[in-house]
């Protein structure tokens, strides 16, 4: 399945990556090339095959529902691009 520039624009929007207009066509060609190569999966008969989500043959472990970490806001904020008064500073979210 070939991807066109409009699809790249939509996918880039979903992925929150700014792609300039002049990159959309080249990206469409690149991604189409990869997806065309991937198309060969259609040759495989997968009727009735259970999709594999994990290679680990064990259930997810349970633990007591207690606090095991936290209480260290300075550490949490130590790499923030912007912080003030113990909070992350972010662009306005609600108008």
């Amino acid at each position: 399945m070939a991807i066109d520039a409009a699809t790249v624009r939509k996918v880039a929007k979903l992925a929150r990556i700014a792609e300039p207009e002049d990159r959309l066509e080249p990206l469409a060609r690149e991604l189409s090339g990869i997806l065309n190569w991937i198309e060969q999966l259609n040759e495989v008969d997968t009727d009735g095959v259970e999709p594999m989500t994990s290679v680990v043959h064990q259930g997810l472990p349970m633990r007591e529902d207690v606090v095991t970490d936290g209480g260290d806001p300075d550490k949490v904020l130590s790499n923030a691009p912007k912080s003030a008064g113990g909070f992350f500073v972010v662009p306005k979210v609600v108008e």
Binding site: G33, W37, L41
Partner: protein, 490 residues
């Protein structure tokens, strides 16, 4: 360069135990080698002060009679592992000068056992690449050169810095990670030993995530025994990683040197791909002959879905990556590029912070997970993944391990494949099946090609049966008697 850097990890640990030299001396010798090898671009951050402090602390522990199994051994750490207070970047601009306030479990295990950190090693950005060329710090140069040539070759990827540093004798061993071949292919390209253990053997906690159902840590070392020593320290159950396996860690080094007589070795016929260089075919035949001589029985097996592993991988891995990398939003850590509003800030931060290959994979992943395409791509790939895992289950009913080439070629020149994503992806044709099935795989240097460049053989084992791989790897290593080394030009 000092003789101390030429030691194997095992010999260095014995020398430290015999007090032939101190950890400080051993570390200083390696720090000098690291400094002299800057043209390789293997280390992107040297931590000499920390290394010397750790070495002195190690000498003090040894003097008190409290030395651990790796005490005083200088190692390199792939910059995908978070190290407390030491810049960790995944070789991406988007992490900027990120300084973790915590230590990854695997590196914490190494420090618990007394190892010394020399610094952080280069890799493909977020481990996405097979040549180290996608790194924001520029490519690593392979210490190996073709006979009579001086072209710069790739060390492979993504663990190119780890493999180059070990091959160039800058450290006694290195941590690495493998999502589709990122330990084994660089090991093959640099004449080193690399093992990706069973999925869940090493904790993923504190390792920057790429594709969580495939990522696994492992060591790169100069001998099979050294790899076994390192893997033993790196492994173990960790409550902080829910996919980490709650099983005992075997004494891996004790498997090296064990007889392999009577083991049944499968040779998968589907790995005889078109256009395979005759030298690789020949090396494979040689490997089969070596294991026969060691008393193994060779059995032809079939893994019919092999050719579909790479295309399935290039759906599963980008899908997981697009989800994992959503966390890089410029709000809590790393780069932030301010836009006119919140959405533009996200978009510009990610446009500037991610490199081309990472963007390409995020876009593919977002596309295959998007409404209307999920079943056709993602669900289909998960079903094919099951088929691939079933192939291995059937083969392992008949054999104890499999023998294949590690990579379809020797190291290629930097720049040779960087314009063609699919050609680059084909590097992992023999390694990626193992990640999809969660099995252990090991690359052992087995010979050189006509240009004098190293080639590797791969052993694939049953889940949790790394022990057998170490025995077989030891047998191959002994038979191959691989003595070639890169000639220092840097």
């Amino acid at each position: 360069m000092s003789e101390l850097t030429k030691l194997t990890l095992k010999a260095a640990l014995e020398g430290l135990a015999a007090k032939s030299f101190s950890a400080a001396e051993l570390t200083q010798a390696h720090m000098a080698a690291v400094e002299a090898a800057r043209p390789l671009n293997a280390f992107i951050l040297e931590t000499p002060e920390k290394a010397l402090d750790m070495a002195k602390a190690s000498d003090a522990r040894r003097a008190r009679g409290e030395a651990g199994p790796l005490d005083g051994a200088p190692l390199g750490i792939k910059d995908l592992f978070c190290t407390e207070g030491v810049r960790s970047t995944a070789c991406s601009k988007i992490l900027g000068n990120f300084q973790p306030t915590y230590e990854s479990t695997v590196t914490a295990n190494l420090w618990r056992d007394g190892a010394v950190m020399l610094g952080k090693l280069n890799l493909d950005e977020f481990a996405m690449g097979s040549s180290n060329e996608t790194s924001a710090f520029g490519p690593v140069v392979n210490p190996w050169r073709a006979n009579g040539g001086n072209a710069k070759l790739t060390p492979g990827g993504s663990s190119g810095g780890s493999a180059a540093a070990v091959a160039a004798e800058l450290c006694l061993g290195a941590t690495a990670t493998d999502t589709g071949g990122s330990i084994r292919q660089p090991a093959a390209f640099t004449g080193t030993v690399g093992i990706k253990p069973t999925y869940g053997r090493c904790s993923r906690w504190g390792i920057v995530a790429f594709a969580s159902s495939l990522d696994q840590a492992g060591p790169i070392a100069r001998t099979v025994e050294d790899a076994a020593i390192l893997l033993k320290s790196m492994s173990g159950h960790d409550v902080k990683d829910s996919t980490s396996l709650d099983v005992e860690v075997p004494d891996f080094p004790s498997f090296v040197g064990k007889s392999v007589k009577g083991l049944r070795i499968g040779v998968p016929k589907e790995y005889r791909v078109d256009n395979m260089p005759p030298e690789i075919e020949k090396l494979w035949e040689q490997g089969i002959a070596w294991l026969k001589e060691a008393g193994c029985e060779i059995v032809e097996v079939s893994l019919p879905h092999t050719k579909y592993a790479l295309p399935a991988y290039y759906i599963v891995a980008p899908a997981e990556a697009s989800s994992n990398l959503a966390r890089y939003d410029g709000m809590r850590y790393g780069l932030r590029v301010d836009g006119a509003n919140l959405t533009e800030t996200y978009e510009q931060t990610r446009a500037e912070g991610f490199g081309d290959e990472v963007k390409r994979r995020i876009l593919i992943g977002t596309y295959v997970l998007s409404a209307g395409y999920y079943d056709a791509y993602y669900l289909k790939a998960q079903k094919v993944r099951r088929r691939i895992a079933d192939d291995f289950d059937q083969a392992f009913e008949k054999v104890d391990a499999l023998l294949t080439p590690t990579a379809p070629s020797a190291a290629f020149a930097l720049g040779e494949k960087s314009d063609d994503p699919v050609a680059m992806y084909l590097n992992d044709i023999f390694t990626v099946t193992v990640n999809l099935a969660g099995l252990p795989g090991m690359s052992i240097p087995a010979g050189v090609d006509a240009n004098g460049l190293p080639l590797g053989l791969q052993l694939i084992g049953k889940a949790l049966d790394e022990g057998t791989l170490f025995s077989l790897g030891g047998a191959l290593e002994k038979a191959a008697d691989f003595k070639a080394k890169p000639q220092p030009w840097w």
